[in-house]
């Protein structure tokens, strides 16, 4: 039995939902950002697997775009974490109340 596209779809879905569970369950903003990176990578894996199936490199271009967006998101997210949570403080996203109505 050869590896078909369904195997890649299943693997990407499992990785994506592990990322979703990480964002839902953890309170640490760093681990939440890492879970978001996991979700980005699951999407990238699908883009590249489908590009390989149809032999279209537009999937590769879009995966490149996703990597760029992930890098920008990580930089801005980490800057927000550093400015919101100072050094030597307890890091918990539930403690941030600036936007609470």
């Amino acid at each position: 039995m050869a590896v078909s596209i369904d195997h890649y779809v299943g693997l990407a879905a499992v990785m994506f939902f592990i990322g979703v569970i990480g964002v839902i369950v953890r309170c640490n903003p760093l681990v939440m950002l890492m879970s978001i990176e996991l979700m980005f990578n699951a999407a990238n894996l699908l883009f590249i697997a489908f590009a390989r199936v149809w032999l279209q490199n537009a999937g590769h271009i879009f995966a490149f775009l996703v990597i760029t967006v992930a890098a920008a998101e990580a930089a801005i997210g980490l800057a927000i974490i550093v400015t919101t949570f100072g050094p030597e403080r307890y890091v918990d996203v539930d403690d941030v109340r600036a936007l609470r109505g």
């Binding site: 490149f64 990597i67 307890y90």
Partner: protein, 196 residues
């Protein structure tokens, strides 16, 4: 075939380790393992340029940024606090969301027409074959030029955002540096007075 299953096991195990690790540094190590395995998987999918980009950008840039922030936030002697997890109060709605989404995905996959996997027009690593650097670059700079330009715009917006956020922190830190300079000048003046 066998390499796919080995890599799949590594990917899922390291993803679970990422979200379950007790310290953020362990999460970073698990994520590094995940990205490396993913790069190998990209090579098996004949996306060699993206495999290299995965290693350089993700493992080289993003994860180092994570490590820097972890070092910055836990600069004291105390170990980095993890916080409680929200599992007790969230597992029911979260589980329902995950199960419904997975069910929808399985349904959609069962409805899809199976795709026939065609072999690429040459060996992996050769020039001008699908997924090679020249193939990717030719597409990036001709047909897909607009997404490439959008990429540049996204990066510039990110740079401006980070400088704006960091600028606020710098403005807060500036008076303290000035005070320290004044204090040192005073101390030196007192020392000079004392020696005279």
């Amino acid at each position: 075939m066998i390499e796919f299953w080995i890599l799949a096991v590594i990917l899922v195990a390291s993803a679970v380790w990422t979200i379950a690790a007790s310290k953020p540094v362990y999460s970073v190590v698990a994520l590094l393992l995940n990205f490396a395995a993913l790069a190998v998987l990209y090579v098996t999918l004949s996306a060699e340029f993206l495999a290299v980009i995965q290693i350089i950008v993700y493992s080289g840039a993003i994860l180092v940024l994570f490590v820097f922030v972890i070092a910055l936030l836990s600069s004291g002697v105390a170990p980095f606090a993890m916080g409680p997890n929200r599992l007790p109060k969230i597992w029911l709605p979260g589980g329902v969301v995950v199960l419904v989404s997975l069910g929808f995905l399985v349904y959609a996959a069962s409805q899809a027409v199976p795709a026939s996997v065609r072999p690429p027009n040459g060996p992996v690593g050769a020039a001008n074959v699908f997924g090679s650097v020249s193939d990717f670059g030719a597409a990036l700079f001709t047909v897909q030029l607009l997404p490439f330009e959008v990429t540049a715009l996204i990066l510039m917006v990110a740079v401006i955002g980070v400088i704006t956020l960091g600028g606020e922190a710098m403005r807060d830190a500036a008076p303290r540096g000035h005070e320290r300079k004044v204090e040192r000048a005073m101390r030196e003046a007192i020392l000079r007075e004392g020696t005279d």
